[in-house]
Symmetry: C2
Subunit: 335 residues, 2 copies
C-alpha cells in the first residue's frame, strides 16, 4: 500500500497505534521521572517538570513543497520559526529553546543560509526562543526542520477540552495568508497598501504567543493554532474533544484587504486559509467575556460548541442556513 | 560563496557567531525561567530544570547520503534512534521523549514506514525513550529527523572538561562499524560468525546509555560519543577543552572480527571508524580506576590528556613513535 491511499492523517493514526502497542511504561531511570502529559495528537507534546509544564513541537519545510527558490530566504526562516512558535502559543507556553536541522544540496550559497538564519533570529527576537544547536546534513533537496521547546506555569491549552456550551473565538483576522499567496503566485496587482498588507499576511505571520499565554492564565483550557484552515482545524479540535461546532460565517473576522482585493472570496478565504497562525479557542461564555478584552491581537466570537457527531463543523450564513464548503484542509499526500 | 568552501564545521562556526551576535538574554516570561547550560558545540543542548538537568539532541538521516534503498528499513529506524540515544548517553542522560519527522516521497510504501518505526521502537525498548509526536511532510527525497530529550540528576558529561593529566578511555571496542560497512558495500564473504558480527556492528550499534549514566554518577565529567571516528572526535573534545591528547594505537580496543576479516587494517579502522557510538571519556586516573570496572560495556584506557596545541591528537605506535594517519573525520560538504 502506498501512503497516498492512507493520506497524511491516516498514516499518523496508523503509526500512533503502532507506537501505543509497543509503548513502554513511563520512561526514565532512578532519579529521572518526567511524566508525560500530552503525546501524539495535539499542537505539541508535553510533560510535567517539577514546577513548570514543558512542551515540545517540531515543524518542517521542504523546498518545492512548502516554499520555492522564488521565496526570500529570510522569509523562509521567519516562517520556519513562527510555525513552531505558533504551536507553543497554542499550548499557552512561552518559547524557550530551538534546534535547527538543515538539509543542504551541493552548491548551496552560504549567503542564503545567512539570510535563512536572519529570518529565524528575527522571529526569535520578536516572539521568543534561542537557537541552541541542531544538525546540518547533505541532502539532494533543501529542507529545514526546527524543534522548539517551551514552558508554562499554567494548565495547558489543549484540543481535547472543548465542552458543549463553550463559545468559540478566533484571534486577529483570517484569510490574509491565502490572499497574499494568490497575489504572489498569480502576480496580481493591487493598490500598494493592499498589496503590502496581503504580502505581509502571507510571508510575515505573527504567532500569538502573548495571546496564548493570557488565555492560559485567564482560565481558558482549549485552543489550537490555525495552520490548515479554520473549518478544518476546528474540526480536528472537535474530534479531539468529542463534540461538534456551529460557526456563523458573517461573524468570522476577515482580513480587511480582502474586501478590496478578493471581495467575492473574502469569507471563503477566512474559513479555509491555512498558515494563518491565529488561535481558535473555546471557553464557557463567562470566561470568554472576561478574556476577550485582554488579548493584544483582539479576538472575535464566531460560534459555539454543541453535542453532536464528533468533529462536525456546521457553518451557517446570516439566516442560519448551512453553507456548503469545498473540501478543505491540507493533506500532504493527497494532491 | 558555496558551502563546500566553508565545510560543515566552518558553516556551523559561522552560524554560531551569527546566533551569538543576536542572542537574546535568557528567554522566558513571568514565571518561566529555564537557564541554558549548554548551547551549540556539545553532543546535546542542555538546560537546568528545577530538580533535573534536561538535554535535547537531534539527528537526521537522508536517503542516498546516510542510507540507501538497499538498507533494511528496520535497520534505518534503529540507527536513526540510536544516534540520538548515543548523544544522550554522551551527556550522561537517560533518554525520555522523541519527536519523529518524516519527509516522504510520493509512492512511499506504508509497509516500509511500518518497518522504519519498528526499528525505532526496537531501539526505544532496548535503550529508553518514548515517541510522543513529530511531523510528516511530502518531500522529493526520503529523510528522517529524530529529536530526543533526556534528563539526569547528575552533573553533565561535557566535551569541554578534559584536563591535562586525565586518562583517556573508550567503551567497548572500535572499528566494527567500518568493517561491516565494507563487507556490505563490497559484498565480501567471510565465515558466517565473522560476517554476522561485523554486520551487527554496522547496522545494530548499541548506544552506551547505561555506561554514560554510570560515568556521570561516578564523577566523570568529560565524554563524547564516537560518530566521526575516534581520532577525529577526540580532536573535537580536545579543542573544546583547550588541551591535546596522546593515544597509544596498540592499546585501542579493536573489534575481534577485524583481526580475521581485515587484519592489515584493524587498527586503522579502530582509529578512524565513524558511527561506532562508543563513548570516549577522560578523568583523573583515580576516578578512572574506580569507574572502569563498573561499566557494562567494559572500557579500556588508551592514552592521556596533555597541555599543547588545542585539539591536537598524537597517535603513537608501540615504540612511542607518532603514526601518520590519513585525514579522517566526516564532513558533510567535502567529498
Amino acid at each position: 500500500m502506498e501512503i497516498e491511499q492512507l493520506g497524511e492523517f491516516g498514516l499518523i493514526a496508523r503509526l500512533q497505534q503502532r507506537i501505543e502497542e509497543r509503548r513502554l511504561p513511563q520512561p526514565g531511570a532512578a532519579g529521572v521521572r518526567v511524566p508525560l502529559l500530552v503525546g501524539i495528537g495535539d499542537d505539541a507534546a508535553a510533560w510535567q517538570g517539577a514546577n513548570l509544564t514543558e512542551i515540545w513541537t517540531t515543524d518542517t519545510m521542504v523546498e518545492g513543497v512548502h516554499f520555492t527558490r522564488a521565496s526570500a530566504w529570510r522569509d523562509v526562516g521567519w516562517k520556519a520559526m513562527v510555525s513552531n512558535q505558533s504551536d507553543a502559543a497554542a499550548m499557552g507556553a512561552t518559547p524557550l529553546y530551538a534546534l535547527v536541522t538543515l538539509g543542504l544540496p551541493p552548491g548551496t550559497r552560504v549567503e542564503d543560509i545567512d539570510a535563512l538564519y536572519d529570518g529565524m533570529l528575527d522571529a526569535c527576537a520578536a516572539h521568543g526562543g534561542v537557537i541552541v544547536g541542531g544538525d546540518i546534513v547533505r541532502s539532494p533537496v533543501f529542507f529545514v526542520t526546527i524543534g522548539l521547546t517551551g514552558a508554562t506555569p499554567n494548565p495547558l491549552l489543549l484540543r481535547s477540552t472543548a465542552r458543549p456550551g463553550d463559545a468559540i473565538a478566533v484571534t486577529g483576522n483570517l484569510g490574509g495568508a491565502e490572499g497574499g499567496l494568490r497575489l504572489v503566485l498569480n502576480k496580481l496587482e493591487f493598490m500598494p497598501d493592499v498589496a503590502e498588507a496581503l504580502t505581509t499576511a502571507h510571508v510575515r505571520r505573527t504567532p500569538r504567543v502573548k495571546d496564548g499565554r493570557i488565555l492560559a492564565e485567564e482560565g481558558v483550557r482549549c485552543a489550537m493554532d490555525i495552520s490548515d484552515g479554520l473549518v478544518d482545524d476546528l474540526g480536528k479540535l472537535c474530534t479531539a474533544s468529542g463534540v461538534a461546532a456551529v460557526i456563523r460565517a458573517p461573524d468570522v473576522p476577515v482580513h480587511p484587504a480582502l474586501h478590496v482585493a478578493f471581495p467575492q472570496q473574502a469569507t471563503e478565504f477566512a474559513l479555509m486559509s491555512g498558515e494563518e497562525y491565529e488561535l481558535v479557542f473555546t471557553a464557557p461564555p463567562a470566561v470568554m467575556g472576561r478574556v476577550l478584552p485582554l488579548l493584544p491581537a483582539g479576538a472575535t466570537v464566531i460560534g459555539h460548541i454543541v453535542s453532536g457527531q464528533p468533529g462536525r463543523v456546521r457553518v451557517e450564513d446570516a439566516n442560519g442556513q448551512a453553507i456548503a464548503l469545498p473540501r478543505g484542509g491540507w493533506d500532504h499526500f493527497r494532491p
